[in-house]
Symmetry: C2
Subunit: 414 residues, 2 copies
């Protein structure tokens, strides 16, 4: 089955906002094995939206329209669908009552325009709205189909997962269940990963029980997505479990998490389980590690805080670093130990290095020392040298931040 | 003149990477007054790329193709253009020599495939590559035109600005020069801004000397983009200067910068000019302010560092905060003063508040106290209360960070 995506909104064509919806939807379609060969962006213009829908339906079996379902006059996706199917919109009294009740429950006056959201082309069905007021639509056209969902990302995602994807799977004649699992990795390049799992890929090429895709995620490492089809959810989960185990066996602690886990959520969980607390001392990362650590809900259980020691004097006075040179193994260890002591934490993590554009202490851009101090059953401290590709300051700093958390993760899991 | 954009690459259709190129190009087209009614994403498939090009040329006067100019076998944009114009690609010996020289200069062996980049359809001209090896193309088709640029964003931007936009302006018969200037604002809503500058908008509606667009930029405030056309660059710059002055007169210090300036670059410049140094104490922002401050090149001239005081004990021991309650005016001032003293800076900036999801000390989510301490000719210290809309933790923290820098900016400019 082929499905296209049409994102609707003049602000998309003016470059005022980024169309992230199409990207997300196409990833979902790829996961369930549906081909998406064209995606289109079009503005809030009736004739042009209708043209985009017709073009998509001429090439594909279905089209997902995203945006233009709101209550205002420039929300005309419903009208464009009506134009394509050649029929007038009909008011659905039951939906009108639901929308009126939504406002009544919140003790807010309902703008009359909101009732436009209760209109639908004949033969179509609503996708119930759970997070706002605009319902979605499923509108069959001959043996093809038009889906319409709101442009607000969290409303769109809810409807696509709950109603659109299942409907596509049903129409495509697939009786099988499709599931996927993402393994997040850090430390190997894409070609390095591909080489490591080459045997597994060959085996899957033969057995066809699952597929594996590599998704480069910039400074966040590389994801391996395992996708499997089966008669039941349970059988698919079994296959995913077997594949995950096989890949983990090969990749070891290069795999740091699954699905929605992040490096900071994984490290946070390790600290919580071990009853440890963390303090960070950041030089070149300048607060990036701390801001990622506190982004995890519940971080206050294990995170004491941090010191951004940008000036050398701060390294000396607050952290007690005595070394003359600050981009060194000894300084990184002293920073980690110093911040743990100063902030009363059992674990200290530090970064000191060269973000660029200029060299520091004769060290090239991209040189990063990462220091770790852990005071648990016994006291350990060490530093690792990481050489990052010199480039944009922001990229060097982001890579240094996740590298540092990864060094701590490996230390805590050993 | 109407121009469409076609982004080429299977990875775009699989949702593996976000198509930011189309968004950037469409913003440039809007700035020079060119209509862009449709944008398309298509994969690395010869027939489908050709179909996308033909569809765009049927609707518009020109099309910008982005991606698929690299040296590998799945880079087939050149072949698709040749298919559309109905001619064979020709090898351009001069370009082939340039590409060979590029590799020779770097003492690298040239993969033979790279010579494919020296091929072009008859009648087309190259856009010279300044940042990589793949040249762009300008290929007239009757009275219409196909542009092809690489998919690597910095190569694409260079070619679009240097060659594509000027060519579009020339073809559109515009003899006029077009320029724009962005004013960055913080502190007023979009409707508040619109109300404030309503008189100016009406005046421009009548005189037509310039246009003003509002661009909401999420947690970074709202941009006002002034665009003017004129016979020469000098006359356009004059109009932009007059409009900027008029808007600044109305908006006062709601305008914090122009064009590429950021809140942190503006505050950094203020500190540098006044010979002051900065230290930050962050509770709910957790390192976000520090990481933004160090992102400005040359920040080490005025930035000492920061303390992320997530645990209350850190506020007491490192910063010397004596207050029992930490989400208070007094605690914010004590944090600002404490961090300046501890790190030896003349200016201290602090945040303490409630990021959510739960209340703290009976204060609702979104409550933020921002503390400022300045020790210059005289010593000043104060705190401001900001109530942010409760919502996503990350958004509350980002808004708190820029709000804090804005409070400092206003203090330093008074």
């Amino acid at each position: 089955m082929r499905v296209e995506v049409v994102a609707i909104g003049t602000e998309l064509l003016l470059g005022q906002i980024q169309d992230t919806n199409s990207t997300w939807i196409s990833e979902q379609l790829a996961t369930i094995g549906v081909d998406c060969y064209f995606q289109t962006k079009v503005g809030d213009n009736l004739d042009r939206i209708a043209l985009a829908i017709r073009s998509s339906l001429a090439r594909a079996d279905g089209v997902i329209l995203c945006g233009g379902l709101g209550p205002t006059q420039d929300d005309i996706t419903r009208e464009a669908i009506a134009m394509v199917v050649g029929a007038e919109l009909e008011m659905d009294q039951s939906m009108a009552d639901q929308i009126a009740a939504y406002f009544a429950n919140r003790e807010r006056a309902m703008p009359k325009n909101n009732l436009r959201q209760a209109e639908r082309p004949p033969g179509s069905t609503f996708i119930a709205q759970r997070k706002g007021t605009a319902p979605g639509l499923i509108c069959p056209v001959g043996n093809k189909v038009i889906y319409a969902v709101p442009g607000v990302p969290y409303e769109m995602k809810d409807m696509v997962q709950r109603a659109v994807l299942p409907d596509i799977v049903k129409r495509s004649g697939q009786t099988k269940y499709i599931g996927s699992r993402v393994l997040r990795t850090w430390g190997l390049s894409e070609s390095g990963l591909a080489e490591a799992v080459a045997g597994r890929l060959e085996e899957l090429e033969r057995t066809k029980v699952a597929t594996i895709a590599f998704l480069a995620s910039g400074v966040e490492g590389i994801k391996l997505r395992i996708t499997a089809k089966g008669e039941t959810q349970a059988s698919v989960e079994t296959v995913l479990g077997v594949e995950e185990a096989a890949l983990r066996e090969i990749l070891g602690d290069t795999v740091f998490g699954t699905d929605e886990e992040t490096m900071e959520s994984v490290v946070g969980e390790q600290l919580k389980v071990k009853g440890l607390t963390l303090a960070v001392a950041e030089s070149l990362t300048g607060g990036l590690i701390a801001s990622r650590v506190v982004a995890v809900p519940g971080a206050s259980d294990y995170f004491k805080g941090g010191v951004v020691s940008y000036a050398t004097a701060v390294k000396r006075e607050i952290l007690g670093v005595e070394e003359d040179l600050v981009v060194t193994e000894a300084a990184a260890i002293a920073m980690a130990k110093g911040v743990a002591k100063a902030l009363g934490a059992s674990v200290g993590l530090s970064t000191t290095g060269v973000a660029g554009p200029d060299e520091v202490e004769g060290q090239p851009v991209g040189t990063v020392w990462i220091g770790v101090y852990v005071s648990a059953d016994q006291e350990i401290s060490f530093a690792r040298l990481v050489r990052l590709p010199p480039g944009d300051r922001a990229v060097v700093r982001s890579l240094a931040a996740i590298s540092a958390m990864d060094v701590l993760r490996r230390a805590l899991s050993s």
